[in-house]
Symmetry: C2
Subunit: 349 residues, 2 copies
């Protein structure tokens, strides 16, 4: 029998824990190491941390370097933070041990745009070590970039792109409420934007620049706005209460501009309970061109599970890829991996 696909998991927060649970349901793939940031997880069994009713024999560690020294793996699934600068040294450790990397760090969907120097270093390291690095996720990674570009594949002309992802933040906890400005006053929201505590969506620069690149559009500028979504009604979740006149979320927009015209407009209004004001959640893409395309996905593709899914479904494509720092657009069309992972991977350690 062929060997399983061996995965090291880095990051055992919300996303990392779901990835771990889902990988255990899949055939032909196994977790051989797990790295957590929090001290209290050091030395614990991964099964216990995931609330399984048995141990899995995988000790979680805080010491990434030692783990990479002692553990052979085909791929690192990386879900720590969002930013190229923060994840660079983590990804580097894996590459130097000839381990492929899939990361859900938002800026890694197109790391060239925020930090060309580190992107080049990652690309070189990957090539030297004959492995591949891919940044992916639901958004950035799919709905507001890769899917839009794939749809333009049936277009002869593309004149303008408008897309929005309207979601409901109700399932999320206090951290998300804070970074999206839910449950505060308009004045507090504006202060939060100024001091950087309210961030809106991370990934618009990466999505807009990727769309422009593959359509051959040389943009003059990518502009972003973050506006408070002021509620007209009472909105209430177990974590937060929004009275009329208060902020229910952050309407983050990005514009890809050329000659003063927005050729690309992406919107991601993130709020709790938009349906209370008659707004349907969904993913909406309009392509003005030849032909016109007017797409709706209702409700929106769920964020957490979507990101976990695309990360684990891309494992074979990344293992099979030529080496280097790659974009989703370099990868073959994705699809769900429902059968044995070993059927889909060409080269295993």
């Amino acid at each position: 029998m062929e060997k399983n696909v061996k995965v090291i998991l880095w990051g055992l927060g919300n996303m990392g824990s779901i990835i771990a649970k889902e990988l255990f349901k899949k055939e032909g793939v196994e977790i051989v190491g797990a790295i957590a940031r929090r001290k209290e997880k050091e030395g614990k069994d991964l099964g216990r941390l995931l609330n399984f009713d048995k141990e899995l024999g995988i000790r979680v560690t805080n010491d990434a370097k030692s783990l990479f020294e002692t553990t052979k793996a085909d791929i690192l699934l990386h879900c720590t933070t969002s930013f190229v600068e923060q994840v660079y040294y983590q990804i580097k450790l894996a590459l130097e041990k000839r381990i492929n990397v899939i990361t859900i760090a938002e800026e890694m969907y197109n790391p060239w745009i925020k930090n060309q120097e580190l992107a080049e270093k990652i690309d070189n390291l990957a090539k030297i070590n004959n492995v591949t690095v891919l940044g992916t996720g639901i958004n950035p990674g799919f709905v507001l970039d890769t899917l839009i570009l794939a749809l333009t594949g049936v277009c002869l002309e593309v004149n303008e792109i408008k897309a929005s992802r309207i979601n409901d933040l109700s399932p999320y906890g206090p951290t998300v409420m804070k970074t999206q400005g839910v449950g505060i006053t308009v004045g507090e929201f504006e202060k939060g934007i100024t001091d950087g505590t309210i961030v809106g969506h991370i990934g618009f620069l990466e999505s807009v620049s990727t769309i422009a690149k593959y359509l051959g559009w040389k943009l003059d500028e990518i502009k972003q706005t973050r506006e408070p979504i002021i509620s007209n009604v009472l909105r209430k979740t177990s974590h937060v209460l929004v009275k009329p006149g208060m902020v229910a979320g952050c309407n983050h927009k990005a514009y890809g501009i050329k000659n003063g015209k927005a050729f690309i407009t992406l919107e991601h209004p993130q709020q709790i309970l938009p349906e209370l004001e008659g707004i349907e959640t969904g993913d909406y893409i309009k392509i003005k061109g030849k032909p016109e395309i007017n797409l709706s996905i209702k409700p929106e593709i769920r964020g957490g599970v979507g990101t976990v899914a695309i990360a684990v479904n891309m494992i074979p494509h990344v293992i099979n890829s030529t080496p280097g720092l790659k974009s989703m657009m370099d990868m073959p069309f994705c699809h769900a991996i429902l059968s044995d992972y070993r059927e889909w991977c060409q080269v295993l350690t």
Copy 2:
């Protein structure tokens, strides 16, 4: 300056003519030869045949063999007939001259399913000659197969797929009316199904088998039904009149069945003027799984222009590909090629 991408076009019917016109609008790509079936086109200038107001210096020929002997090209754009058996000898001529091939022959989206022997021969010929063959189009090729699979890329589980493509045949002429049974009685429709003159959609076997393959589903059977769409109202186009009680089109369905259950259901009801009975044209995809995906594209992506677009947009991916007979699922994500074709192609003759 780098050389243009050189295209030979085979087939100057409806689709081939649109491909020719569109390629002339694009940068970095040129038509260097054109093959037509009809005797009256032999020796004519391509510009004249396309109703351009000038000659293009490209003489259309009926003699494919001589053209391939004398003309160097990077790729053949092939749009003659739908069937593997009929296109095999045409594609072979190109491959033996080390010319890549994109074909819109429906069965070539997955030629292995109808004729494994010829598919193997094409694959071998392509590999020996270091070139690539791809079958594509809007359907099969994109809406009811590649797009569905790409959407499953954000799914952890897929339990069932239902999709339909509801279009309006009004723009089409007498040939399409005949093959879809528009404007006849139910009795005549049933006779037409029996004697094979009413064919419905070509491509369902290819779409269903491709979806099943990439989801790792071993189907017991692919079942197809073709039912008359009986009009309740008067429907009239410049080509055909459908009185109430008569047939407005063909509702063609395909089922991918395992253990008696349809895991995949694809519907393509093709008729004139469905909106007269309150039916909205569109492309609809429902994926039951984790997460659920409920997608609509309204109206449907236009068939003719969509097929032409994906055929010309895939040129760089096919030129850049490793050799062999490939599927859309082997290709990187497609996108519109709006800038100079030479920017997107790695190797040119």
